[in-house]
Symmetry: C3
Subunit: 465 residues, 3 copies
């Protein structure tokens, strides 16, 4: 037999979804690694360390309210809800994959936030004198943000991979994210508080590329499970609404104290509201009798939040936010109607949750909106100090002009895209190895592969189908 055949045999042997050894081994090994690395590297920062009373005296801080905790904790909790309930429940729409949607989301996010604290810490929170990563509430928010990128990618492969593959995808995804984020935010000094580029465009293209590499020509064998039932659509609306409601917190969580956070909230609130109306309009237009499609309502209503991720803290003005939301609701819904079928048919990219339309494309739009609004910023709109605060143009950057900043913003989009696509291709290749316990084509979208499900439930399902 030729090498090719042998290779083919290796990759095409019957699927074994027994993960009784693989999953525990990965969980234990990685968690122990986390403990060791945290032991070596991670300490409390000055605001969460018990020496804070001394820090207050040294820095002439008179009130505990100045502890960053009180500026950011409410936003952090909202972001936390988005990561675990928002993303988790949004993906419960499949009729028989709700356990996996919410359970695997829980698993990979819990691992990802630990690894993100380390990776982002090495790049951004290292105390040069001690070599320790010092963490506070802002690091927790950033770790949640980082994980959001991986959860977006999860959406593209939902139902078609094993939890072990998801953990591998998260390990590499967080690593890539931290490097990409460092390049974009620190080296290029690009502003991206809500992560249109860093989170959504990266996560979107990372997931889509992985899905392309893992393409299954015979996925139609589990077509009967690839859809929703009435109750699962209602569950998914829990995810949609918590994402929608708390998106203003997402885009403002690490914005500048004071007017920066305040403005980011107003802009995101307005942008999302406009998205809802145009999503409904296009959804109704797309059906012969004007009926609405739950897929659109669950997803495209959120596109405005993604697309304002970069510019949320800028002076886009309230009507500017509405315009962005208006366009993104339209484009995202049309993405579900036209682009997703095109990607599947022509590019062999099967995108279970339609992350192209909710994250990848609106993320790119968000990057462009950010570049344009940054390039046109001026002292009249922002005030002298406001311009410096908003764009962080201090120190050696104080001579960077808004139009130069706009150029750097545009460069940031390219970096995010490149990391998503190249990273996704490599990680996709790793995930094709036939050792990860992924399901056979006829068992996709089925909780029974990885979860104990009672037999009455299974019979009931077969009845209603």
């Amino acid at each position: 037999r030729t090498d090719y055949q042998r290779c083919n045999d290796y990759f095409c042997r019957p699927k074994n979804t027994n993960i009784r050894i693989k999953l525990p081994v990965v969980c234990f090994t990685w968690q122990i690694a986390m403990i060791i690395l945290f032991g070596v590297f991670v300490r409390y920062d000055s605001e969460s360390d018990a020496h804070w009373p001394e820090t207050m005296i040294q820095n002439n801080i008179t009130s505990n309210t100045e502890n960053d905790f009180y500026y950011r904790y409410p936003s952090f909790q909202d972001v936390h809800v988005m990561i675990f309930v928002g993303f988790g429940f949004l993906m419960t729409f499949l009729k028989r994959y709700s356990f996996s949607a919410v359970g695997f989301n829980f698993l990979i996010a819990s691992f990802g936030i630990q690894w993100a604290l380390l990776m982002q810490g090495w790049f951004g929170s290292l105390d040069p004198s001690t070599g320790k990563i010092l963490i506070g509430v802002e690091n927790l928010i950033n770790a949640d943000f980082c994980v959001a990128g991986c959860l977006i990618a999860f959406g593209a492969v939902l139902g078609k991979v094993s939890p072990v593959q998801l953990l591998v995808m998260t390990l590499f995804g967080v690593t890539l994210f931290a490097v990409e984020e460092y390049i974009i935010l620190e080296l290029l000094h690009v502003k991206d508080a809500g992560g249109s580029m860093v989170i959504h465009a990266f996560g979107g293209y990372y997931g889509l590329t992985i899905s392309r590499v893992l393409y299954r020509p015979r996925i139609h064998q589990s077509k009967h499970l690839q859809g929703s039932v009435y109750q699962s659509d209602v569950f998914a609306m829990i995810g949609t609404l918590f994402l929608w409601m708390f998106w203003p917190s997402f885009n403002s969580a690490i914005a500048y104290h004071g007017d920066g956070q305040h403005r980011a909230v107003i802009n995101t609130y307005l942008c999302l509201a406009a998205s809802v109306l145009t999503t409904v309009a296009i959804s109704s237009l797309s059906q012969k009798t004007g009926k609405l499609d739950m897929v659109h309502i669950q997803n495209s209503t959120l596109a405005g939040g993604v697309a304002l991720g970069t510019a949320a803290e800028f002076m886009v003005s309230p009507y500017g936010a509405l315009i962005v939301g208006f366009l993104c609701g339209i484009l995202s819904t049309m993405g579900y109607i036209f682009i997703s079928p095109f990607l599947e048919k022509n590019l062999k990219i099967h995108d279970t949750c339609g992350i192209h339309n909710l994250h990848a494309m609106p993320g790119l739009i968000g990057g462009i909106v950010g570049a344009i609004t940054a390039a046109t910023a001026n002292e009249l709109d922002y005030g002298k100090q406001g311009l410096i605060n908003t764009f962080g143009l201090t120190g050696k950057l104080q001579s960077r002009s808004p139009s130069t900043q706009g150029g750097y913003q545009a460069a940031g989009i390219c970096v995010a895209l490149a990391f998503g696509i190249v990273g996704g291709a490599i990680v996709g290749g790793i995930l094709r190895l036939p050792i990860w316990g992924d399901p056979a084509d006829e068992n996709c979208y089925d909780d029974e592969v990885y979860w104990e499900v009672s037999t009455t439930d299974t019979q009931h399902l077969h009845y209603i189908l």
Copy 2:
């Protein structure tokens, strides 16, 4: 044929629920109108504008924590959850109308908050020198409040109207609300932080009057869908609980900084707790075998929050709050048992969610409680400065006595009632025009009229019924 017959033919022609043109046209037109009006009128206020660092210097503000954002943002997010998850899921109790409940709630609230920012802005946040509306976090809260009035009205007509009708109802509802609110809060200088009168009484009577005008004598033709199934009742409890838990934020969100917000939370917390016990008691008493009714638990437990909307920030004292909750739990539950059937049979008011018992009646009670507690306020209980802060009796109002204030509070109730009933009658008349795509009598309470629902779901439903 006579004019009467022609008119009759016009109003009674077979229902056409195809909204493929109507709904998109309304959504697009209105959203474009919002963009234009926001472009002309709406700007950031001084606390969300990038000139905030200069404002801080000018006003000698030394800490960003003084930005109103940090006082109000946590409450705002809670209110936001009440509007979108609270109201949305509370109405999912119908067995086959959950998509519409949560989806139309989402749609009309997203439109309503934009229109409310404009309407309330013209009346309350206009910068006289520039003619611009300046918005900050308090405007966002007020817009959510305003929309709450329309969502209450939605509860009365749930299942019987089209989304286009709901949008029209919201357009007029927000308009009426803004005028009514201006008269009550500004002209009469009535205090109503949690909106017993302004939100609940107005919204309740607005909805009930519309429902009266739209009365369907043959609604019993869709009786098989007018009720809950097991799972839909559990979904509705999500709405109930998020409303119940966050009601302290609702009643305190725009209360006076410091003790005002603090006290409003304590009072609402206690009042709601008492409501739960008396609701359970009456619900159990109302059944032969003492079984509890989910309708009561889902709704009447919330009556205490409504009834303390006006007086939450007053010195009603903790036991006073308990007494209000005690009575409202009883009255609201008895409303479901006795008053709702009476209204339907004798006044032809069909009230799907029982908003009379949860909003209209408790709202009136709340107005009365507010008037009495305001009238009996005194310097001993409040302190000199406390009395001024709580009732805002500064400037030309500084000579208004508590008993006069009580009188104005009572006048506020009448204004809210008048706007609800007269406004509802007019809007109801508009909604009777046979152009809005409302469902036929035998298709009420059915998601399939306006939503894509899979055929297996439909078959399954028919089986279990």
Copy 3:
């Protein structure tokens, strides 16, 4: 007939679950008692009283942000969500007991918080000059905490008791809690901000002991209802996730302002993340084919939060938090696999929700972790002022050494245990009286005993079983 027989007849007469008189009488009487006691005893504290502007001047407070409300309100709302949605929905996993889970949880928590404000107030917030209890936001948090203990106990007896019994259990539970808490926190001056001992160990053993006393040898007669269906497991995940996400708020809600709250959040966040990975690992290992069990994911992922309740605000360091979470995920999951069946078979303790594994055992571990970390605290890690703030070693306690503190912490565990077991035995005895309307062995875990459920629902259930 002998006395024994007569006694036996009394206790074994056929069950009467008609609670039409009992439940309303208890609800009304107790609520009226609350109103009277609140009228006599409860007033606003200085930060929620309208005299606050004067208090500010007297105490030289220059900003309203110093009002404790702004330090604690966001955490309070998170805790409130945990109590009502978290505990409520976590218990909806049973296939036919979701109404009771979420409804009775609502009822007893609403009563419990009122009674807790009184009991905890008498022990801790009494103004000696007036004899009044002065309440503010911290009292509301503590009342929610107190009720958590009773809701934990509810988990052990879920499905086997009547709402009247639950109210009795809560009345005594809150009373015992307040005394135990006073002894541990005030007399012994033990630190337990997140309540590992005070809440979880006490509540866990209180519930387990009651369940032992109420042991039903013929509970297998309702075995067909003791389990989950697909949808009920998804509902339960709503509870799990809201508990998991907001646990950092639980453990930090009453921690020291500034670094104390900040650190408690970081520690809890990390500990919970580690719990998830080891829970998944052990759950997968426990099944032949490596499939995951929803019971483990719903519960054991939370064990880390319980186990860090005492030490959350200490300088356990980030890796220390991970280690605690690592171990608790393992132990708790193994508890579900090995200990729960053992307890039922050998000790006749039937524990519906497995509170032994989620609360009782992790609570003990938390107490031990707290004792060890307190005993090893030192000025190097905490700083001089930090040590004083964290352990509250001021006044006559200023000479207490960390190792002595560790000893007191250990003593606290014993007090919590003793109150749980002895209190549970007494209350269990009271609940055995055949007057409370509890269900017959064949009607356990069935909502139809206490709730109006439509007949189509019932038929549907019988079909799918």
